[in-house]
């Protein structure tokens, strides 16, 4: 939103002293309103056997939210040896309505997470990525949709989510990927997820939540190969109010696209257990 404000101010500069300023402002507001509404109402996805929008497919986000869900400039990576290969790509951010509304203590924790991200980021240890982070990591995921269950199978750590469509239950216990109950609202799949532990992050920048996290996601097809993904984040222990991120998600059109093995546990064993290796001569 900070970005949007800036754009509007620039427009205002451009149109300053012009007689059409009020008209221009009204037009901007009108475009915003119709743009948002148009995204959810103009396209009607092909139907599955039960008459619901068919979201089956292999999908992937194409943005920089995995590094930082908020807007950010390019930055060096944290592992010197990897140089430009692990630098942070710049992104305009996916958070709507201004900065993430942290409570003061939580803002300090976020800052500490960022400073200590090399040791604290659960992604580095191949831990289950949580929600919504799994959705916009730079890996494909597959939606497998039936009337009763919608499965989301992620490449990273082979994380899997079961969305219960007709047997809604409270989470039986806390988990990394949460417990998801889903429903259809017209063209939109709405997924309500609770029952999280407090171990996952939103990105590599240390944005985090507590075990009180409640995520409501909306998946809406905006074309044959695009979904609009919206996630409302609510966590009264960490934020002052609910906040929202949104982004397009793209269908992987590669003919050979498939979810391949990414058994990253094997890749992190020396990192986690390497210091416990028997030393020669002992």
């Amino acid at each position: 939103m900070a970005v949007m404000h800036r754009e509007i101010y620039q427009m205002r500069d451009r149109f300053r002293r012009s007689t059409i300023v009020p008209v221009a402002m009204a037009t901007v507001l009108w475009l915003c309103a119709t743009g948002a509404a148009g995204q959810t109402s103009t396209y009607k996805a092909p139907r599955s056997a039960d008459g619901k929008p068919n979201l089956n497919g292999i999908w992937q986000a194409l943005n920089e939210a995995s590094w930082d869900v908020e807007g950010h400039a390019a930055a060096p990576g944290i592992v010197t040896a990897l140089g430009a290969a692990a630098a942070v790509p710049p992104g305009m951010g996916v958070v709507e309505g201004g900065p993430i509304p942290y409570q003061p203590a939580a803002a300090a924790k976020k800052k500490e997470n960022f400073e200590k991200r090399l040791t604290l980021d659960p992604e580095i240890k191949c831990y289950l990525p949580g929600v919504p982070r799994a959705t916009y990591m730079p890996f494909p995921f597959q939606i497998i949709q039936t009337q009763k269950y919608i499965m989301m199978v992620h490449t990273f750590a082979r994380a899997v989510r079961t969305i219960y469509m007709d047997d809604h239950k409270e989470a039986p216990a806390d988990s990394w990927m949460g417990w998801s109950n889903g429903r259809w609202e017209g063209e939109t799949l709405v997924v309500d997820t609770t029952g999280f532990n407090d171990q996952t992050w939103f990105d590599r920048a240390g944005n985090f939540h507590s075990d009180a996290l409640h995520v409501v996601e909306r998946f809406t097809a905006t074309g044959p190969d695009h979904l609009l993904y919206e996630a409302t984040i609510e966590d009264p222990k960490v934020f002052t109010r609910p906040w929202k991120m949104s982004m397009p998600i793209y269908r992987r059109l590669d003919k050979s696209a498939q979810i391949m093995d990414f058994r990253c546990v094997e890749f992190v064993e020396d990192l986690i257990y390497g210091h416990l290796r028997k030393q020669p001569g002992k």
């Binding site: 497998i144 269950y149 171990q199 058994r263 064993e269 028997k278």
Partner: protein, 345 residues
């Protein structure tokens, strides 16, 4: 879901009989001459269909079993009688139930019979076969070729050079490291507990969720070729098709990290899932690996309908056991070294 049955070991036989009754007609068929050749039940079972016309295997299943892959050496027949099978299961369940005696391990209350940790408490299909292996006759894996034996010896030697299991994390088994389990396979074989699976089908795919390790097999049915030979994965590259009511999955492109029963990475595995009754599925697999065995060999085991849901099994995230095993070994070495140094000081 394992808390459904709270029983003592002595009550197991009643429990087992109760759980197995629904599968008895199908299992009983296994003793008929027809079943010995192709396992077809006498009463024709009308296979339900998915909306797009696939045979419907959807739902929750378990492949828990007491039947070993290979026939025990002191058994000389293909099938047990029902009484013999139930007696063996009862004994096995008692042994599992006696692994712990409540209250004996300090403050840990870890009672197999109470917490559903023994195999019998999750429900399973009764199998009268004396081994899963049905071909060759005799129910045992055929002898390895000379090349297979050489590879096995080389692997054993390489493993020996790595040192003790507690020397390094890489010396532990894939399952202890939360990387891959027998339930994943392929072939998919039961372990001692949590042998729970969910099948989900959509046009063009069958998905099998494995509760252990939250592992997922996504099998494309569109006739696409296997991955290029240069791409190797622990679970290989799987492609599926329907042959009548049977889901046939061909898997190639393995690595040498799993080496099922000593197989090479060029093993070609064919799995067949056939729903033979509302609550029973027949799982067959054929191992074809001329580099290891002169002829393919085949095994068969029933899967039984189960109940869901499956819960997240975050194995790696909570793998304190592995960490503590390695840390304990290092602490022991340190203590031993300090003890050895003491007299000289």
């Amino acid at each position: 879901m394992n808390h459904r049955f709270l029983v003592s070991a002595s009550g197991l036989i009643v429990l087992i009989a109760g759980m197995l009754l629904p599968t008895m007609p199908a299992a009983g068929q296994a003793t008929s001459a027809a079943a010995k050749t192709n396992g077809t039940p006498a009463k024709p079972y009308t296979q339900p269909r998915t909306p797009d016309g696939q045979p419907d295997l959807q739902g929750f299943w378990t492949n828990t079993t007491y039947t070993p892959l290979e026939r025990p050496k002191d058994v000389n027949k293909d099938f047990f009688t029902q009484e013999e099978a139930l007696e063996l299961i009862k004994k096995a369940a008692e042994v599992e139930g006696e692994q712990t005696e409540p209250g004996t391990i300090l403050d840990v209350h870890y009672d197999f019979t109470q917490f559903g940790l023994d195999r019998s408490q999750g429900g399973f299909a009764l199998n009268l076969r004396t081994s899963m292996i049905v071909d060759p006759a005799g129910g045992r894996i055929p002898p390895m070729t000379a090349a297979g034996q050489k590879r096995a010896a080389e692997r054993a030697e390489a493993r020996k050079r790595m040192g003790a299991a507690t020397d390094a994390v890489q010396n532990q088994s894939l399952s202890v490291r939360c990387i891959l389990m027998d339930r994943d396979g392929p072939p998919m074989l039961a372990g001692a507990y949590n042998n729970n699976y969910q099948f989900v089908q959509i046009p063009g795919y069958v998905m099998i969720l494995v509760e252990m390790l939250h592992d997922v097999r996504i099998i494309p049915l569109d006739g696409r070729p296997q991955m290029p030979q240069s791409i190797r994965q622990m679970m290989g590259s799987s492609r599926g098709r329907w042959e009548g009511n049977t889901l046939v999955i061909e898997t190639t492109n393995f690595t040498d990290k799993t080496a099922f029963q000593g197989a090479s990475e060029n093993m070609r595995l064919t799995e067949r899932f056939t729903r033979v009754a509302e609550d029973t599925m027949r799982y067959q697999f054929t191992v074809d690996d001329p580099a290891t065995w002169a002829k393919p060999w085949t095994a068969e085991t029933p899967w039984k309908k189960s109940i869901g849901p499956l819960f997240e099994h975050a194995c790696h995230e909570g793998n304190y056991g592995l960490y503590n095993t390695l840390a304990g070994a290092r602490a022991e070495e340190k203590r031993a070294a300090e003890g050895a140094n003491k007299p000289s000081k």
